[in-house]
């Protein structure tokens, strides 16, 4: 059951502490909880472990938390868009745990679903499986991966209702519904608050959403603006 707050700072009040783990939705800059990330930045909370597929770019999304040195460790699948990330990592200032993207998504889902571990073929035979427990099922080898539960989950949705049911839009869905399940507390930012969502089409049930804000003037930056030419008439 969500309570609705005036802004991102209010919605995060009392939830942040140094050394905490935060899981955030988003893929690249698409569907990232941009208002909530900005409020985490403004709070000054530090030594964060951040679970997110990507690390934003230098001046937007999770990149701002890296630049301000609030992040101690990232758990991600791909950080190729972020120069500051690369610098901090190569200089040893930042810890990094790489997970294959599907394994990361499943670890987040598993954490939310009360599953502490599951087996996958992904990564077997690679450095990312080293030191992890392996097990054979029906003649094939799999690696044990752990569920992730975070202190706080931050998600961006398209529409929400006053109970906290959420709907995402197009590929801005990505990690958001999974992240929403994996926080001890989940805070959502939505673009629009509506009276009623189609009950057959809710992506995140209200039980997962503790706090909610309605954001305005989202930047929603596009990372790679690719277009095609109109055929001439």
């Amino acid at each position: 059951m969500a309570r609705i707050y005036d802004d991102a700072a209010a919605a995060l009040d009392g939830l942040l502490f140094d050394g905490m783990t935060i899981v955030a939705g988003g893929f690249g800059l698409c569907g990232i909880p941009e208002k909530l990330i900005a409020a985490v930045h403004a709070s000054g909370v530090k030594d964060l472990t951040v679970v997110s597929n990507n690390a934003g770019v230098d001046d937007f999304g999770l990149g701002v938390l890296l630049r301000s040195r609030q992040v101690k460790k990232m758990i991600s699948s791909y950080v190729g868009e972020n120069k500051e990330f690369e610098r901090q990592f190569l200089s040893g200032e930042l810890e990094l745990e790489f997970a294959p993207q599907g394994t990361l998504a499943e670890r987040i889902r598993a954490g939310g679903a009360g599953i502490p571990g599951f087996y996958t073929k992904t990564g077997v035979g690679t450095t990312l499986a080293e030191g992890k427990e392996h097990k054979d099922f029906d003649g094939e080898t799999y690696v044990l991966e752990r569920g992730i539960v975070a202190d706080l989950a931050l998600v961006h949705a398209w529409r929400g209702d006053r109970f906290g049911n959420l709907v995402y839009r197009k590929t801005a869905r990505n990690f958001n519904p999974n992240a929403a399940t994996a926080g001890k507390v989940t805070v959502a930012e939505v673009e629009e608050l509506v009276d009623r969502l189609d009950p057959d089409s809710v992506h995140t049930p209200s039980v997962y959403v503790r706090r909610l804000i309605v954001g305005h003037d989202f930047e929603k930056r596009i990372e790679q603006r690719t277009v095609r030419q109109r055929e001439s008439a």
């Binding site: 190569l90 294959p100 035979g125 590929t171 992506h203 990372e223 095609r228």
Partner: protein
């Protein structure tokens, strides 16, 4: 004369069969969608949570909520649906993708693939590639035959950290196409060469053993 990137993509498009569900990696593999033959109906998956990916939008119609796994703006089709990242990789890991086309830094003669990391230098991360090679039914790799310094990319054994062990079925380079019938130890076989490339030249530029 070596094949151009578009020629490589066109050759890779031959691997797509009617009704296939296909995931195309970032880079040259993305070009493959431009070369799908008429009458071949293929549904493209984008691992960030989309099945039925359409072409780039017209200028002015870009939607920040609608991107592919390369973070490029794309469009939807009448068959499109969206889903979460966990559901997307459930599909991939569960073996529902008929084919995935990926880039490579190294391919080994035993089918190992390395395409995600150069220790101490490049730390971009695996993204979805490890999941794709573990889950898709068939893996086609598109890569230049040699690196920029002329070094081998089709090698005896990978020196870079692996993306997957024993996962490559077809390798398409700018010089030739190699294929193996299965993953049970069969060697790669040369099935095609770019016009003007000789077998001797190919062997000289290849670290891996292959049958011709």
């Amino acid at each position: 004369m070596p094949w151009s990137r578009d020629e490589m993509a066109a050759r890779a498009a031959h691997e797509l069969k009617d009704g296939f569900y296909v995931n195309l990696g970032i880079g040259i593999p993305t070009l493959v969608s431009n070369h799908i033959a008429p009458g071949i109906d293929v549904t493209l998956q984008s691992e960030n949570g989309m099945l039925g990916m359409g072409p780039f939008p017209y200028a002015g119609e870009e939607d920040p909520d609608l991107i592919n796994a390369g973070k490029q703006t794309v469009t939807e089709l009448d068959r499109t649906c969206y889903f979460s990242s966990a559901d997307s990789f459930a599909m991939i890991r569960g073996g529902k993708m008929d084919l995935s086309i990926l880039g490579a830094m190294e391919v080994a003669e035993n089918g190992d693939l390395a395409n995600w990391m150069i220790p101490g230098k490049m730390i971009k991360g695996p993204g979805g590639a490890m999941d794709l090679v573990a889950g898709a039914k068939r893996i086609v790799v598109l890569a230049d035959h040699n690196d920029k310094k002329g070094g081998h990319k089709f090698v005896k054994a990978c020196t870079l950290p692996l993306t997957g062990a024993n996962v490559v079925d077809v390798l398409i380079t700018d010089l030739a196409v190699f294929e193996r019938p299965d993953r049970s130890g069969s060697p790669f076989r040369l099935v095609e060469m770019a016009a003007g490339v000789t077998l001797d030249e190919l062997r000289a530029r290849t670290g891996a053993a292959f049958t011709a």
